[in-house]
Symmetry: C2
Subunit: 349 residues, 2 copies
């Protein structure tokens, strides 16, 4: 079947990353052209070998392309998505999909009305660190996972672009939180039971510069999700506990540890250790026979790449890997996290 040609709306960091890094690896998708409101970026796109449009209308009227990628500030997604679908285009949309779930519901109505494919680029479902945790969750190599801590921390504050402005949908909960929450809900096959959270405003921006949220699920899984932009030292990217072991992934480089229980701890044989001004048996190392250090499993994902899947959804009526109902659930969870932080209360489902 024929290649899908796609136009890119927005040639900032992400649009350019799709154009020059992600899509060139695909065999069935190619970039058709680029539009950006910023003439400098258009010039850059042209220099990098892409056809450019002088207006959005010109892009939408180009019948060469079947699809668009929306890689613009968050507050423009809704209008662009609706216009593109009404112009007959399938849509790939950058995250966070919309400013709120209400906007997203309206966009999904338009997708249905126009019979267009609308898929959100939740690319971090393909992150290798996440896939390792997913393996542990599915294979139960360290037992059923009951505690999942997922953190992304840096010390750069919020980038000095639209991401630090409220009207454009800035802030870390919408920017990075949407990734971590999407991964979490994709991982844990259970309804959310409760959410409590707090946003951080230590840098003096009008939007949150990070957050911590504690999410419990009906199946007993507890999760701590945290994003920080004033952390000069990072806690591990992942810290997960199973009933018979613990695993850690330190960073994007996939360095980490897995320690598995292989026997029972013999309490009467534990030797108390000096810890500060006191002794502790409880916090002594587990007896050597009871724990074993192993390698983390290899990342495995049963799905094709995001864009291959997008192609298959359009051409072969395949199921999307990133389902809109899932994206909606994440959007609603984000709203509940905002609400929990504002009300300073636990939200129960």
């Amino acid at each position: 079947m024929t290649t899908i040609k796609l136009d890119i709306i927005g040639y900032g960091g992400m649009g350019r990353y799709h154009a020059t890094t992600i899509i060139p690896k695909e065999t069935n998708i190619m970039v058709n052209g680029v539009y950006d409101i910023d003439p400098e970026r258009l010039t850059l796109a042209e220099k990098e070998g892409f056809r450019i449009y002088s207006s959005l209308s010109q892009l939408l009227n180009d019948t060469d392309s079947e699809a668009v990628l929306i890689a613009t500030p968050n507050d423009s997604h809704k209008e662009l998505a609706c216009r593109a679908m009404r112009a007959g285009k399938h849509v790939v949309c950058e995250k966070p999909v919309m400013m709120n779930s209400q906007e997203f519901a309206e966009v999904l109505d338009v997708a249905e009305e126009t019979d267009r494919v609308f898929m959100v680029h939740q690319n971090r479902r393909w992150d290798e660190d996440f896939l390792i945790i997913r393996q542990l969750y599915q294979t139960q190599e360290i037992g059923e996972l009951f505690q999942i801590e997922s953190r992304v921390q840096g010390a750069n504050g919020i980038p000095g672009d639209w991401r630090h402005l409220k009207q454009h949908g800035g802030g870390m909960l919408l920017d990075w939180g949407v990734h971590l929450l999407d991964q979490l809900l994709f991982l844990v096959d259970s309804p959310v039971k409760s959410v409590v959270s707090e946003l951080s405003y230590v840098l003096g921006d009008e939007v949150d510069d990070g957050f911590i949220s504690y999410i419990t699920f009906d199946n007993g899984v507890k999760s701590l999700i945290e994003v920080g932009t004033s952390n000069f030292i990072k806690l591990p990217r992942w810290y997960v506990k199973g009933y018979s072991g613990t695993a850690v992934i330190h960073d994007w480089d996939l360095s980490g540890d897995l320690v598995k229980q292989v026997g029972q701890v013999a309490h009467h044989e534990l030797i108390p250790v000096q810890a500060g001004q006191g002794l502790t048996k409880t916090m002594a190392p587990p007896s050597e026979d009871a724990a074993q250090r192993l390698s983390l499993p290899a990342p495995v994902f049963e799905h094709p790449t995001f864009y291959t899947n997008f192609y298959q959804v359009i051409r072969q009526d395949a199921a999307p890997v990133v389902k809109n109902a899932e994206v909606m659930r994440v959007m609603q969870l984000i709203e509940d996290i905002f609400a929990s932080a504002e009300k300073r209360a636990v939200i129960h489902y």
Copy 2:
């Protein structure tokens, strides 16, 4: 002034640690004798060179000693403390002081009525790891600390003694939580604003095998306190964020890191880094000129040892380092943590 002779009630792990490790270092306090309901422990105490009593009454009637140490299971503290003070003894009590704040209030009434000194052995105020964090809090070397994470994690479960039974006041919140919360309230000079918490019961004990609690203060400090007994890999003992840096203490060995901001991050100069399937500027390392790795400060404590202070309180009318009002505040906070976990709600003050 004359040495204070002290009798020890309870010759388990802690009683023996006081007798053989802590008190021998003191110049003004000495062990007078030992009582335990377990004949084997009495035999051990005798072998280790201590005079032993055949009954509690015999101990309390011995006019050679002015004070007692109570190092028995938690549910026996109240009766022993009251009897000892009514017999004219000053009291050092192991932690957690009582089963609840009501019991503690009754004991404090008896202390007032009998004019005896009652001091709780919150020894971890003298832990070097804590004193390093206290230095950072006071000197503001990395700016005002606004986030304090204090964790103690092990993989041994709850020791198979009275500590895993509810009737004796077992469970990790009372056992280890009382230390971490005492340190926190001693550190942060501000009223608590809110508490939310969850207890862990993954090991199938009738008492909590760990907990996580998130505590905010009126002065803006936020704190995460966590104890775990099913953690085969440990997160750092301390993780603290100041407005211009982050510090970590990994373990009791005081290994750790301190990274301090020394300049402003130039956002336009940040180079996005590949992170999983995406690029990030926000989570790129801070530019080299903007952060500096330094040594942790040395631990400093302006107070004498616990027992020297106990001596000074009795002989010289000094102020106690561990004040009963502080211990009461911790006891009430523990009750609120239990309540928050049970109600699954944020408690506001």
